[in-house]
Symmetry: C2
Subunit: 490 residues, 2 copies
Amino acid sequence: MTERHPLEKIFAPETVAFLGASDSMMTMGTVQMHNVISGGFKGEVYPVHPKLKTVLGRKAYPTIADLPDGIDIFVMVLPTRIVPEMLEQLGKKGITRGTVISGGFSEVGGGGKDLEKQVREVSEKYGIKFNGPNCIGICNPRHGYNNTWFPYEGKPGPIGLASQSGTYACHSFNHIKNQGTGFSKVISVGNEVTLDLVDCLEYFENDPETKAIALYIEGIRRGRDFIRVARRVAKKKPIVALYVGGTEAGARAGASHTAVMSGPDEIYEGAFRQAGVLRASSFPEMFDWCWALAEQPVPAGKNMAVVTNSGGPGSSFADAAGRLGMNVPVLSDEIQATLRKIIPHTASSKNPVDITFAVDMTTLIMDKIPRLLLSAPEIDGLLLYGIFTSQVFAKYAEQMGTDLPFSAEKMRQFDEMMSASFSKIPKEFGKPIVCSTFFTRDDDELICRLQDLGIPMLPSSERAAIAMHALYRYGRIKEKLANSDSPWDE
Amino acid sequence: MTERHPLEKIFAPETVAFLGASDSMMTMGTVQMHNVISGGFKGEVYPVHPKLKTVLGRKAYPTIADLPDGIDIFVMVLPTRIVPEMLEQLGKKGITRGTVISGGFSEVGGGGKDLEKQVREVSEKYGIKFNGPNCIGICNPRHGYNNTWFPYEGKPGPIGLASQSGTYACHSFNHIKNQGTGFSKVISVGNEVTLDLVDCLEYFENDPETKAIALYIEGIRRGRDFIRVARRVAKKKPIVALYVGGTEAGARAGASHTAVMSGPDEIYEGAFRQAGVLRASSFPEMFDWCWALAEQPVPAGKNMAVVTNSGGPGSSFADAAGRLGMNVPVLSDEIQATLRKIIPHTASSKNPVDITFAVDMTTLIMDKIPRLLLSAPEIDGLLLYGIFTSQVFAKYAEQMGTDLPFSAEKMRQFDEMMSASFSKIPKEFGKPIVCSTFFTRDDDELICRLQDLGIPMLPSSERAAIAMHALYRYGRIKEKLANSDSPWDE
């Protein structure tokens, strides 16, 4: 099979040569090889170790030359000074794709810079391509392949992440799991000697599992290429960037971290704008947006309906939407009249639609009202608060020692039916729904179910409104890019 | 005992008359009474019910007149139209403190306005004071008293919340529990007929359990009083407000929610500034700030040290601090020289101090480096990422079937010792520490322990930096208020 992109094998190898693992779990390499073999990887791992006969139960090979032929990729977690020599041997052996975890190169200056030059030269000589050096690795949850320092315990998802920070690449596994979504692929790019963020964009462009692309950026090494490629990719898939090199201290941090040269904030801001890249202001925000962008249709306009069973979160939606320049218009008399027939007398029908308390709450909030509002031509999207499992009633009933009108099992079936139907509404109407909730996946199984069905449920109304605004902005970006041929116009 | 403030009894009653509970858990009143009796409340509850002999296992009284004398407070969850008459009877019985949950008053307009007028008149006639109507109730975790619709399952904490949203008052129990801190007292003020936000400020001013005050505001009914009282309170305790009435849609939401008149954003912004109130931009941010303000000393200046074991979160701290106008200065040669003796060669000593990977990570990051940096006169506070429990090694060891150099129990003892010592550093140096982490309380017991010891650990570097900035700003507010006599100067 011809290689379409060097990252294909690096993300989804069948066979891996592992350099730098032993049986001591106090070394990074051992933990990283352990994560490969214990994360569901179906392929073969071939450890190389000068002394040990086996490493983590796998037969070890004393040198690279001793390895079987035809191995797909290497993973290297070795002392800095021997990295060039090992790459030379890998090149000779024909293993030219992989990951170099080892740090201590240009990011520390001095001799590190010379070593990095050697790494570059030997890579060019043999056509070696790898992510790193000075990175944390790769994770491909659907392939069960994770060579980073952290286990990936969440579900596979639609978000592709390329990160100039190794921590952000792997500590974020936990963030994304708790948030309720998942990664398609994660790559830590490190010092980007042979593969950089632009290469990652090109890979994600054609990766069917990646629906939204997140980039953590301390500095872009190929500015013009980045803008050119991003403009092309953004026509198909949303790109969200977090850039932290724009302040003096941020730039200093980046330089000592991955030896990247950052630039003034305005320059990057302009480049992102030209490139059709949405810029997030924080790490969680980048994933909030990617989640919404990956799962929901873009709204055609900025008129939002707000539905809630609770005044506060409803007011926060309306206020946040207003601040972002979106509208929460008063609903038409016709819609209001229809609404008033089904909501309690204490409820508000204007917009926000605040149901307050109703016995048929779930049916109203997850079915009747969303369908009514999204069928209105004047409404482009829905912000919603007020979903929680009917199991809360079961819990109360148990505490009180009383019986429920329905069995817990019946209520669970009801939750299941409602969530399946609710999660289809955005596609049916071609309009997005973004929700907020104070409950986590651990607290509430209905929240889990809806998140797993692609409904972004964010932990505050403000974050949900901001994610909806990102959807709106991406819609406009796509329109602009579709109508422009020149790569430089605005 | 003479009453210092009407809210004293309402927050901490010994005896409660409950109007509107039955044995059917499909009514709000029943759930709310259930929460009172099952939340650890040591006092007596006296349900009033026209027909039932008992309610939730307590002897029920057919009328208010039948109740024993000397009951501290009432809680009322009754149909709107009978509320004035019930208040009349309570007044006659001498029960003049309490909570009115019932809605359907001025927030729905029309006849609701007339009913609210009657409620006001009867309250004035008998000197009745209550929170509400149209509210969700009261929660005092240390007293085990929670009459809201949601159970309070977290720990008691230092944050007092007065909210014009009932949801925000009780759904936030979960938010605050998962965040890692807790409430001292929570009050939902509803339509504020006899007690409003200004009364709550005056109560919190003298409540020793409340170290920081959170206000959710849709509109302030007594503007001048608010500014006067807030200026006085802010000298002693930080006040953080979330105001959502400044946009057209936000104002509309508020009007139909608690019948409050909101005002233009600029007016409120100016009022908060005059009053020494910090204004948060989202609900979670309000609690982030309150947490930091309640637990940490204010920094004397804006020079921050950043310590991390991971480049990304360190860069984000530096970038966010820079955007907020704080400094992350290059450390003095002397400090850097001392640092370099203890950190690995791949580490950065400039600031951010990025340790990368070290075997004695925990000791470096939780002890040696914070003490060294906070002892420097040029540093006012510390932003830190990189704490996670040594149990992660135990987990890996178990998976790998290898032995650790130390037993899991030894490592737990080590964690315990380190966290106890680390949590004392801010007081020792009189300088704040705010941390970020991607791990939750469920993920990591060291995170739990540190949070319980008063270290704010927020879920992103940006949020931690913003909370540190709130600490800095409160320091300046205190200075200003201390040096000003006039209530109106800036």
